[in-house]
Symmetry: C2
Subunit: 507 residues, 2 copies
Amino acid sequence: MPYPTKTAEALTSLRRRFSQIADLSQIGGLLSWDRHTYLPPAAGESRGRQSATLDTLSHEKLTDPRVGEWLERLEDAELQPEDAALVRLCRRKYDRAVRLPAELVEEMADARSQAQDAWLEARRQNAFGLFAPHLARMFELCREQADRLGYEGHRYDALHDEYEPGSSAARISRLFAELRPPLVELVHSLAASGQDDRDAVLHGEFDELRQEEFVRDEVTRFGFDFRRGRLDPTVHPFAQGIDRSDVRITTRYRRDFLPTGLFATFHEAGHGMYEQGLNPRLARSPLGDAISLGVHESQSRMWENLVGRSLRYWRGAYPRLQALFPESLGDVPLADFYRAINCVKPSYIRVEADEVTYNLHVIARFELELALLDGDLEAAGLPEAWNSKYGELLGIESPDDVLGCLQDVHWSLGLIGYFPTYTLGNLMSVQLFEAACQHIPRLEEKIEAGEHAPLLDWLKRNVHERGSLHQPDELLELATGSVLDAGPYLRYLGRKFQGLYQRVGSA
Amino acid sequence: MPYPTKTAEALTSLRRRFSQIADLSQIGGLLSWDRHTYLPPAAGESRGRQSATLDTLSHEKLTDPRVGEWLERLEDAELQPEDAALVRLCRRKYDRAVRLPAELVEEMADARSQAQDAWLEARRQNAFGLFAPHLARMFELCREQADRLGYEGHRYDALHDEYEPGSSAARISRLFAELRPPLVELVHSLAASGQDDRDAVLHGEFDELRQEEFVRDEVTRFGFDFRRGRLDPTVHPFAQGIDRSDVRITTRYRRDFLPTGLFATFHEAGHGMYEQGLNPRLARSPLGDAISLGVHESQSRMWENLVGRSLRYWRGAYPRLQALFPESLGDVPLADFYRAINCVKPSYIRVEADEVTYNLHVIARFELELALLDGDLEAAGLPEAWNSKYGELLGIESPDDVLGCLQDVHWSLGLIGYFPTYTLGNLMSVQLFEAACQHIPRLEEKIEAGEHAPLLDWLKRNVHERGSLHQPDELLELATGSVLDAGPYLRYLGRKFQGLYQRVGSA
């Protein structure tokens, strides 16, 4: 039965408005990609202004009182489930936008820009003190933001929910409580084996053009579609989905260390394939967007780790890599290479961490940002708290703050509540991979043969095409039959790394 | 004396609105640059949609009734000259925008997109018939557009004025009547010399990376600022000024023919330096924009021809070029190289034409588009009329329509009244260069020494920084003391080419 005229009209208007907002967001994506790839050095200020103007227009379109009227009319109507889901998503975006007064939004933008500059300067001088007052102000503004947005449990939830709908500080605390002790123990036991130079073969001389040739070829095999995407070099790798037909991934190559270029590219290709796999039927609708940062990270980790750091994958791919680097790798057996790319070692920098230690970096940040938000920790006290936390979790203390609490850009941008999504992604990647193994006959043999289409198709149907039709937990349950659970991930790590380290120990 | 409150408020509102519109236009510039450089092949449709959404928003901002109210209030007030000029410019933009009904704008956009596709297909199949109905429709829509916009003299004026404020069909006709006979005669007399293989030394094997190295170095000497700009390869070279801090030029290199890459880059660098030289004080105001396509072309032609095809310039630069291409150019004397880059030869393609024949290509198009607009020529009759016109002017007839009336993209985009600006630019470039020679002691010696700053500074002060403060004719008069005049240009061509050809003839 068709909707009554008033309902149909409101729905059409709502859809049209949100597709216009989607176009603006795509344009913003291009501005951002360009800023990090090809923008001339002196053009930063003009780019900032262009982005700010675009944001203002987008905000005007979103907070237009007519949007509120359409939503109210539709909330009173009986709708098909998908239309009802659309209305809920639009309501969420509308409410979040109208609850933040323009002055606060401007103040945040201003504080962010100052904090960014201060962060860069503090890093340059290795002087945390330059950044501390900006960090304090950023947390203060985020507290106000959270209070404006509203929350039921913890103030953190209002911020975290932006990145991971339906999640909460309580949920993350429970998960991390499960992960913390076994991870700490695993790291300690592996570290105790004293085999931390097993990645020596990956240090050497690796021509960047050959690296690019290799990863371009491999991510094409994974299924990244270069007719609908690009790969460019940058300083801090990222993926930017502009439209499902225009997905841009970036990477960086280190001439003297091979893994950087390999795994950054695999990782970003995973993000990119999620964006390329979004549902064309839901294009330009909030329903068609990627649902959360955690789910996004599950896709990057899938290709980086579950595929890209697996023995099965390298059985097929390693000869291709050796052919490109005969001098450095010709004499290195596959087993040694595999051990080298899976070397576990407590280290200072999160983005360079291995699969086992990575989540301890995240847990540290979560515990610290909660304390900063609650006021239990002063900004000025962060370096000390950071080192004590790293001592507890990883048994190390950073020699300076650049390698310590100044390493991440997130807090200077006001991205609070973001870090836990990295670990959520790691957990989900294993649950999804195990479900895929159950549904796809001989999946690991196919990966060895370089046949990645069955895995990508399964992810497309079960994750990508579902867009934002379901909350992350529901999506995971539909795909795997289970809700989020630390168990599979911990078992996977145990299996893989105890095996790997024992094998060497006994070799 | 400060303005009364109401006036000051209206002025502030008007300025703020037009700076927002300027930001949107900058963003549109990036979308367009990216489309022609790095856009993935399958992303054309999404890019078209993003641009259309941006245009719609910009149009909404411009035609907002409040803009009309601010203008009326300001037109009643006594304003400083610069503020009055701003109000006139904004009025012009506002009127043009509100006079075109949304349906016509949409119909044009639709017709343009279809005509583009048909044009490409007609070129692919060498079948003008596929394009003819679209061409007819485009001229019909342009007639309607002109009637809506209004005009005093000829319908053509309403369209031409968009590209060259203050100019008209009558003015162009007068100028072209002066140019036509001497140009036809000069071409015929040079062609009669039978020396049309003098560019043979430029055909050969020229590594593209070395070409890029050379032009990048040369345009840096000219004064193109790579901190505020980029140079990228593309198919059809263009310059895109996004902001004065972000000016992107593009070029293409032919491995087998050196001039393409050299002169395309010099040309676009000329456009680019105009954009980089715009007045920072007038940034984001219509007053700060480049005033017209003709003036823009005078800057590209200045560096491409007056500098880049001059003997003086190559006396300094040729050894640098020879050093990069010792095998192809090592044994070619400067005099031969100079004759080769100034070879005059009637040819089919405008963008590849030499300095002498170029304007005849433009005159042909002007006469044809006038006939098409007046209805004196049917779209279906264009190929025949084209060939007859080329016979008259250049003594050649194109073997097919791809080399004939299908060669330019302009009409398929509805850009009618655009072509004459190329010739206006040629004329102005000579008048400006001669004025610069009068004002800058030993300018030509400086060019030989690679010292281009005095010329660029003079152009900055006399052209670039004046933005849109003056109409093109007024700007030219301020800079040179004369209004637009075909005389200097004709004398320049005569001097240069009769000299060049006689010298060879007598050698």
